[in-house]
Each structure stands twice: as structure tokens, then as C-alpha cells.
């Protein structure tokens, strides 16, 4: 069966010849019609549409967007803020940047609809420091939108007003974690907050109720208002509605962005057909399906169990290639859809070196607030770097796993999982390579210059 075709709703116009990121072009393509329509409706109705749509967050956790909006404390009398998470830092993920660069007004329209629905008067786009171009594009687009009456004190003559501010980060992955982001936005070190009590929906930015949503999520909100929640829910698969952008990188013929209905394409179809399969003479070895913190899958392993389809429990017996790319199936086989970053490794990859690379990243990015993550991430980095560049010991694999086991589930924020899942899964899936590593190193060429 050939792979299903892409279904581009976020990328509807992106990459079309002649489609530019200015307001005029956006308006020519029917832009801001959904906002125009939204402001004539009751805010509760809009929230209802989003609930009906079944939209799940595209930032990593896949949390239902309507439920998140429902949790917002609307009785406190304090202002409600919207924070747009454009920190896109998870290795392997590059969709939000593309949206911002190519179609910023789509995001702005999604933001304004969300603000109107939630009675938000101030929205912040927190964009990572490494996206200066994106920040410039957003500033320009917001200015255009303000001039056009889509943003600002009196939106489309309704009397409803809302401002959007762009805030640039200073280059730290942890600023993507929503409470770290909020601290950073307040001008502090981005130390994630303890939850309880600091749930953003109640005690978020400046201790006010705050909605944090990913860039892509908010673009979907615009689409939901356009076609209605029920119609949107028919796209994708039950509980995994809509489309999602998959960012494929690594050892495939055609890496890039692909937008599919959630769950309609399998990993095998995506990699072999859509992305053209492995590089010449190579075979797939491993794939990380949802950003570098998602658990790795090893080609050749099988996943068996029962899953719910409709009201029935049916058996499944999948190879890596058979797994549908949706939140639930990826979770079922012990990994996650995460941020949509699919990282492919072929048989040229030294799996220990790959883990050392990932560990290096997380050790560098741990905020350092809580003990297990702070110390464990650097320890794992030191062990795996030593294995690659110095002397590997047969017991190092077991030690690595034990260190990772002391982190996950014991930290302030989900970075603890993000930094330990790679090690845990690499060891679970490729434990043999770690064991054999000292011997294989002896046969290998002279060591490379050590990592800093």
C-alpha cells in the first residue's frame, strides 16, 4: 500500500510559489477571515470548538488544548496571559521556525483568536535567542497586523483590544519548559517552578493565570475555528486529531518537513516512501520518533500487545516500520510523539557516540536547579564521552543506566525525563553494543580530539 498523501493545513500555502510572509499576501489568501468571524462569536463557543476538535498540544506533551484552556482560573479577577512557546529547542525539531519564517500571520491570527476566546489582553511570543530572523519577521508582521486592525487596542472595530509582544530568549533549552519560560519572561533565570503550586493556569506569568501553547498548536486553533471543531476532529485518528508536522532529519534520502494527518502514516511509510529510504548502501539502524528526548527505537525490534480501536481491543504485532505516527501508538510502544522531530540513524552510526552526543546536549542545557538532573546529566555525559574518547569499561553501560534511573521521576521539571530517557532507551535497545564497546574500541582507529 503506498503511503498516504500529505495533508497540508498548516503548510497550506507555505512553499507555494509566490507565497510571501507579508500581510498583503496573507490577505490575498483569505487571511484574517477567521479572526473576523471569531470576534462575532461568543468566546465560550470558540473554546467549545477547540474542545470538540480534540486538538492535542504540539509542543511535546500532547496535552489536550481545550482541557488546558478549561483549567484557567477565570475567577481570580487577575488578567489572563497567553504565552506562545516559540523556543523550539528540542534537537530534531524545526517546524515552528518554518511557520514563523514563512507564514507569521497565520500564527498571529491563531494567537488573536485564542486571546479573544480566553479574554486575554496581552500575549507574549517567547522566541529562542537563536532565531533573530524569526523575531524580526514577527515584529514586522505584528506591526502590519496592528496597522490592519487585527492586533491592538480596538480589534476590527469590536472594542476588544489585545497586544502581542515578542520576547527573545538568550539561548537556553530550558526556556522551552513552560514555567522556566515564564520565569525567563519575568526577567529571571529560567528555573522551572515546582508544580504544585505553580501551575501556569493558576499562578503563571506574574502569578496570574496563564496559557502556554506551542506555535503549531495555535495555528491549529485557527484552522479549527475555520472549519469547526467537529470537522477538525474527523481529520487524523480518534484521540489523535488533526494534522501534525513531522521534521525528519538524519540518514534518509529526503529529510525535511512533512505534514500528515495524525496516525495516518506509519514510520516505515514516512521513512521509506516519503523520505526515500536509507542512503545508498545503508540500512536503518535506529530512529528517535519525537525529538531527541524521546526513547529510541531499534529497527528489527517488535512490539506486541492489545490496543483499543473504537470499542474493541485488538492485537497488534508491529515492527518499527509498522508503527502509526500518533501520540497514543508511539506512547504504547514506549516512546512518544513529542515535538515531531524524527531523527534517523543508519548502520554507520556508532550508537555509543550518538548517546554521548545527546548526553552532551542535556548536560549543557540542564538548568542546574535540582540535584538529580544537574549532577546526573553531567555524569552521564562524562561517562559516555570517556567511553568514546578515552577508556571504555564493560561496566559503563550498567552504570549509565543506573545513573539515568536515579533521575527520571525525581526532578522539578520534565527535563529529568528528557535527559534520562535517551540513556535508558539506548541501553535497553543497544545494551549489547555498550557491552562490546571496550573490545570494539581496541580495533578502532585512533581516538578523535576529545569533546570539550
Amino acid at each position: 500500500m503506498p503511503a498516504p498523501a500529505q495533508r497540508r493545513i498548516i503548510f497550506q500555502h507555505i512553499d507555494e510559489p509566490g507565497y510571501t510572509n507579508d500581510l498583503a499576501c496573507y490577505l490575498r489568501h483569505g487571511g484574517y477571515a477567521n479572526l473576523r468571524q471569531a470576534v462575532t462569536r461568543k468566546p465560550e463557543e470558540l473554546i467549545d470548538e477547540v474542545k470538540k476538535s480534540g486538538l492535542r498540544g504540539r509542543g511535546g506533551a500532547g496535552f489536550p488544548c481545550g482541557v488546558k484552556w478549561d483549567l484557567v482560573d477565570r475567577k481570580s479577577g487577575k488578567p489572563i496571559y497567553l504565552v506562545v512557546n516559540a523556543d523550539e529547542s528540542e534537537p530534531g525539531t524545526f517546524k515552528d521556525r518554518y511557520i514563523i519564517h514563512q507564514d507569521p500571520h497565520q500564527l498571529i491570527e491563531g494567537i488573536m483568536i485564542t486571546c479573544f476566546a480566553n479574554n486575554v489582553k496581552q500575549a507574549y511570543i517567547y522566541i529562542r535567542g537563536e532565531f533573530p530572523e524569526g523575531a524580526r519577521i514577527l515584529e514586522k508582521a505584528i506591526a502590519e497586523a496592528r496597522a490592519g486592525g487585527f492586533v491592538g487596542p480596538n480589534i476590527l472595530g469590536t472594542g476588544y483590544g489585545c497586544e502581542i509582544y515578542v520576547h527573545r530568549g538568550a539561548g537556553a533549552y530550558i526556556c522551552g519548559e513552560e514555567t522556566g519560560l515564564i520565569e525567563s519572561l519575568e526577567g529571571k533565570r529560567p528555573y522551572p517552578r515546582i508544580k504544585p503550586p505553580y501551575f501556569p493556569a493558576v499562578l503563571g506569568l506574574y502569578q496570574c493565570p496563564t496559557i502556554v501553547n506551542n506555535v503549531e498548536t495555535l495555528c491549529h486553533v485557527k484552522k479549527i475555528v475555520e472549519i469547526g471543531g467537529e470537522a477538525y476532529a474527523k481529520i487524523g485518528t480518534p484521540n489523535n486529531t488533526g494534522t501534525r508536522i513531522l521534521c525528519v532529519s538524519g540518514h534518509v534520502q529526503r529529510p525535511g518537513y512533512y505534514e500528515f494527518e495524525v496516525g495516518k502514516v506509519t514510520l516505515g511509510e514516512l521513512l521509506n516512501e516519503v523520505c526515500g529510504g536509507p542512503l545508498p548502501g545503508r540500512r536503518f539502524k535506529a530512529v528517535i520518533p519525537g525529538g531527541s528526548s524521546a526513547k529510541v527505537l531499534r529497527f528489527g525490534e517488535r512490539f506486541k500487545g492489545k490496543r483499543k480501536i473504537g470499542n474493541d481491543l485488538v492485537d497488534y504485532d508491529w515492527g518499527v516500520e509498522d508503527v502509526p505516527m500518533d501520540f497514543d501508538c508511539l506512547a504504547m510502544i514506549g516512546s512518544m510523539g513529542g515535538s515531531g522531530g524524527v531523527i534517523v540513524m543508519d548502520d554507520s552510526v556508532d550508537i555509543v557516540a550518538a548517546l554521548a552526543n545527546i548526553n552532551e546536549f542535556y548536560a549543557h542545557e540542564s538548568c542546574g536547579q535540582c540535584t538529580p538532573c544537574r549532577e546526573g546529566s553531567l555524569w552521564m555525559k562524562k561517562i559516555s564521552a570517556r567511553m568514546v574518547h578515552g577508556e571504555a569499561r564493560t561496566e559503563d553501560g550498567a552504570l549509565l543506566k543506573s545513573v539515568a534511573d536515579q533521575i527520571a521521576g525525581r526532578t522539578i521539571c520534565a527535563f529529568g525525563e528528557a535527559c534520562s530517557w535517551p540513556t535508558q532507551s539506548f541501553l535497553a535497545k543497544f545494551g549489547d553494543e555498550f557491552k562490546a564497546y571496550p573490545e570494539s574500541r581496541k580495533a578502532a582507529a585512533a581516538p578523535a580530539v576529545p569533546l570539550a
Binding site: P197, A363, P372
Partner: protein, 561 residues
């Protein structure tokens, strides 16, 4: 007076032990009440909760209820309500008591959590306990013994960080020992209101530092040393001086102002090495000012007064002077004396039929733990009846009396008469019998000098700005040639022809309990460690100089608010 708001009590279960605690009490404090230790580093009862060390992880559960009917779900095995345990461990410091909360601290998972955190804290730690001042009172040492694995699996290079940074005039930092708990940062920001500390860099390379161009030099900087759970922050004064396990601890008071912060004096073989705060939630919480920690330097100061003559010889000279000009004496008492000394000073004035004065000591208060009244015990002088009004800024009335020739002899109980406002000419006109511990202008001018003891060398009580009667105990013996204040005063009274007065604490307290209405029924031994608040109503209308501070709102302010 308003009665304190009733706090709702809730019953929680910790390791199988039920206890009722005020709603919102956190698990660490609740566990303490049932004798269960929940080890922790970053939590401090007087600072905000950040939950960063992860040492206090516990298992948490709530009684199960049927989601539909809300009826309790029973466990057939035990016959009790079933408990739904959360699989993920929770931090005790940020978990607050709610009805039915169940906590387990002794499970394999929690043991593993603690071992993990201990191992993580130690891998980059220099393990230089043999040369570390904190050894013996280090939470890292204690908890690695109690909860660690006892061996290391770490074969990598340890991180290298700055070893001896002078954060300010009194605090030295060893960043390699720092476990990044942020207590010192929170203290500086929340209590000292001097937000100068912070971390730079990130991850395991995070480094505590002072804001560029600033110093940790506020008058509370040494509290960071007290609350640092490890040997990262050390007192520059105490550094490398003494092993803490050799030191004897004596409860005392900070006598630098009327706040009366509770303290501990640490000494060995008659030598004091440091002073630290002692927790009193109604007075100073767990803090004290740096300035109060240096007071012990008076004990061995160059200017310390001692006598070569015996006390009997000194008293004989004093008696001669007192006899020379009967009816023309005055007594200058002190707000730095203890309640007991002030009572005897009053009795001395009675015996001499002389007026009693008190020396005022005021300066700006800092709003925290140093009040505007730099006498620790003006209220003692009021309560004992030594004086009936607040002291004048200077001893002008006494000066005029001297100038008129109404006063020829002055007994000064520890006060420098010159500093208190008498001129050299006035001093030259009188004979001074000077009691005290330090050389001063009036001891130089005095006819008789009777050296006495510092607060560290004797016991007694003082009454702070809240009218709280608090005890201090004797930490070290006084030097040869200095005499106990009570004995000196009792014998002076006798020399002045007064009745026999007791010269020991217990004896004076028998007199106080009988004579002084506010102290009726009390005894020295009966005063609790945290003090006892006296009825202040007889003095309610006096314009006390203190402003607002940590646990004190002046009565007049409180009334007008």
C-alpha cells in the same frame, strides 16, 4: 488583644502514625512531630520553598473514594479505607497536610531516591572534610552517613570551581563545596532584603557568586553561613579556629538592642569562639545580626578592666567615699544590666536615699533585628522600678545637680558618665565609684573602680521590646580580678548601710517575685527558653523609641493602625 485565628487541624498519617497538624503544615514539619526524619537541604522553615535538592522525596497517598458516589473505597485485606498511592515520589517540603494525607518514608523506592541524591551531591564535592570548618555540623556528612550508599561509583574528573572567594568582609565562599540549595540567595533576598547573591553558569557548573561590583556586606551576612547546609559559606572570623565538636553551647541573648535575639555562645575551656542565633519564632526566628556576633570580643579586649586588689579592699574604699558626703550621692543604672542587677541597683539607690538615673542609647533601627533602642533592657529598669520613665538622651539633670552641688558622689553601674553627657569639669567635681568591664573616661576619672563581668560570664534575665522576659546563661568564667555584679551590688548596699540583700540569682528572684508585681510568682528557673511575655499595661503610654521590626509592632503604631 485579639486572639490568634483558630487554625484548622487535619489528621495525616506518616509511616503508620496518625497526627493532627494545622492544615498546610508541610510533610517535613509534620513528620518531625511524630519523630520521623525527612532529610532535606534546601528547605528552611523561615524561607520560601523551592524544592531543588530533592532529598525530601516521600511516597504520598490519599484515601480512595468512588469517583461517582464519593463513598470511601474499603480495602478488604485491612478493613480500612484503601489508599491510592502516587507512583511518583513527591517532595515533602512542598507537600502540605490535607485531610487523610498518607506518607511513607521507609520504602525501597524512597531509600533509593535518597541514596541517589546523596550520590549525586557527592560526585563533584571535594570531600575535604578534614580541613572543612563545617565538619561536625555538616548536613552532607550527617545525611550521607544516614542515607547514603557508603561507596563511590564515580571515576570521572570532578568539576573545578573557585575555592576561597571573599563574598564580603565576613563571609568566605568555597564554591566546590556548594550544593546549590539557594538558601543563602533566598535569605539575602527575602530576609536581609539585600539581593546580592545569585548563581551564574548552568547545570553542574552553576556557581554561587555576588552581583558584580557588590559585596555581601549587610549586617545579616553571617546568617548565610549558619544556614548553609555544607561548608561552602564560612565565617571569616571563625574559619580554621576550632572544631565544632569541642565547643560547649550556652544559651544567651544578643544584647546590642532591645530586640533580644536569642543566641548560642560556643566556647571551649573558657574561651568563646563564636555566637550564633538560637531559634525563637516570636523574637528572631533563626536569625541575628552580624554586629551581635562580635560582642564576645569584649571578653578578652585590651580595654578589659581587672583589679589587683581584693573585692573587700575595693568595697572598703567605696564605703569611705560614700560616708564622706552622706545624702549627696546619685546612682547611674544601666539598660545593659540584667533585671536582677537593676533590682539591686534600685535597692542601692534606696539605701543611699539617692536618685537613680538611666543612660539612654538610641540610634536608627534597621527594621529587622536591631532596634532603635540599643539598650537591651530598658524595660527591666521600668519593671524593677529602678526608674519610672524612659531615660533622657543625656544625663543633663544629673549634670545640673552636680553643678548645684547637690551631688558629690556617683555610683555608675557600668556606664561611661562622660559618654552619657557629663563634662570633664563635672566629673572633676565628684567622686565616682565605677563598676564596669571596660576602660572608659569615667573609669579613668573614678576614685574606685570595681571590675565586673560581661554578659557571657554571668547569668540573668532581660526584658526585650515586647516585654518578653528572657534568660541568658553563663558561658565562661570571668577573669581573675573581675567580680560578680550581684555580689558587688549586694555588698555595696551593705556598705551604704542598707538591708542585707541576696547576692545570688535564686535569692534575688525570691525578692523579685515578692516585690515586683509584674514578676509575681516567677522564678529564674521557671522562665521558658523562649521567654515569657509580661503584662506591659503599666507602661503602655510611654513613648518607646522602637519602630517596627521582625516580630514587633510598637503598641502605639499598632493602636493607630
Amino acid at each position: 488583644m485579639t486572639s490568634p485565628a483558630k487554625t484548622e487541624l487535619v489528621t495525616v498519617n506518616i509511616d503508620g502514625k496518625e497526627i493532627a497538624v494545622p492544615k498546610g503544615t508541610n510533610v517535613i514539619e509534620a513528620a518531625r512531630l511524630v519523630g520521623v526524619d525527612v532529610p532535606h537541604y534546601c528547605y528552611h522553615p523561615k524561607l520560601s520553598v523551592v524544592g531543588n535538592c530533592r532529598m525530601c522525596l516521600v511516597e504520598m497517598g490519599m484515601p480512595a473514594v468512588d469517583p461517582a458516589t464519593k463513598a470511601p473505597v474499603m480495602d478488604p485485606a485491612t478493613g480500612c479505607q484503601k489508599i491510592n498511592w502516587i507512583p511518583r515520589p513527591q517532595i515533602g517540603c512542598a507537600t502540605n497536610a490535607s485531610p487523610g494525607l498518607h506518607i511513607r518514608t521507609q520504602t525501597p523506592q524512597i531509600r533509593d531516591c535518597r541514596e541517589g541524591v546523596m550520590e549525586f551531591l557527592l560526585i563533584n564535592h571535594p570531600l575535604d572534610c578534614p580541613i572543612c570548618d563545617q565538619a561536625g555540623e555538616c548536613k552532607l556528612q550527617e545525611q550521607s552517613t544516614g542515607y547514603g550508599r557508603g561507596y563511590s561509583r564515580f571515576v570521572e574528573q570532578k568539576n573545578v570551581k573557585p575555592k576561597r572567594t571573599q563574598l564580603g568582609p565576613r563571609v568566605t565562599l568555597d564554591d566546590e563545596r556548594c550544593i546549590l540549595c539557594s538558601r543563602c540567595i533566598r535569605f539575602s533576598k527575602e530576609i536581609a532584603k539585600d539581593d546580592v547573591l545569585g548563581f551564574i553558569d548552568r547545570g553542574s557548573y552553576s556557581t554561587l557568586t555576588c552581583y558584580p561590583g557588590r559585596k555581601l556586606e549587610n549586617n545579616y551576612s553571617l546568617n548565610t553561613v549558619d544556614i548553609c547546609p555544607v561548608g561552602a559559606l564560612t565565617s571569616t572570623d571563625f574559619r580554621f579556629k576550632m572544631r565544632v565538636w569541642f565547643l560547649k553551647q550556652t544559651n544567651s541573648l544578643d544584647t546590642e538592642s532591645s530586640v533580644g535575639a536569642n543566641t548560642v555562645v560556643w566556647s571551649r575551656e573558657g574561651v568563646i569562639y563564636r555566637i550564633t542565633p538560637r531559634r525563637n519564632d516570636a523574637v528572631n526566628d533563626t536569625w541575628m545580626a552580624d554586629s551581635g556576633r562580635l560582642l564576645y570580643k569584649a571578653v578578652r579586649a585590651e580595654s578589659r578592666l581587672t583589679a589587683k586588689d581584693s573585692l573587700a579592699a575595693l568595697l572598703a574604699r567605696a564605703e569611705t567615699i560614700l560616708r564622706l558626703s552622706p545624702g549627696l550621692a546619685a546612682v547611674v543604672g544601666s539598660g545593659q544590666s540584667s533585671v536582677e542587677e537593676q533590682f539591686l541597683t534600685r535597692q542601692l539607690a534606696h539605701a543611699l536615699n539617692a536618685p537613680a538615673y538611666l543612660v539612654s542609647r538610641t540610634a536608627e533601627g534597621d527594621g529587622i533585628l536591631v532596634s532603635a533602642d540599643r539598650n537591651p533592657n530598658v524595660r527591666g529598669a521600668l519593671v524593677t522600678g529602678l526608674v519610672s520613665d524612659l531615660p533622657q538622651p543625656y544625663l543633663d539633670d544629673l549634670g545640673e545637680a552636680i553643678d548645684r552641688g547637690d551631688v558629690r558622689t556617683v555610683v555608675s553601674v557600668g556606664e561611661d558618665l562622660m559618654a552619657a553627657g557629663l563634662s570633664a569639669t563635672q566629673l572633676a567635681k565628684i567622686s565616682v565609684i565605677q563598676l564596669g568591664t571596660q576602660v572608659c573616661a569615667s573609669s579613668v576619672a573614678a576614685s574606685v573602680v570595681i571590675p565586673t563581668l560581661t554578659v557571657f560570664e554571668k547569668a540573668g534575665t532581660m526584658i526585650n521590646q515586647q516585654f518578653r522576659l528572657q534568660r541568658f546563661a553563663k558561658a565562661v568564667a570571668g577573669p581573675v580580678g573581675a567580680f560578680d555584679d550581684l555580689e558587688v551590688l549586694a555588698r555595696l548596699i551593705a556598705a551604704a548601710g542598707g538591708p542585707a540583700e541576696p547576692s545570688d540569682l535564686a535569692g534575688v528572684w525570691t525578692r523579685l517575685a515578692a516585690e515586683i508585681p509584674a514578676l509575681r510568682g516567677l522564678s529564674y528557673a521557671a522562665v521558658p527558653e523562649t521567654g515569657v511575655v509580661l503584662d506591659a499595661s503599666p507602661w503602655a503610654s510611654l513613648p518607646f523609641v522602637e519602630g517596627e521590626s521582625l516580630h514587633h509592632r510598637p503598641a502605639l503604631v499598632a493602636a493607630s493602625a
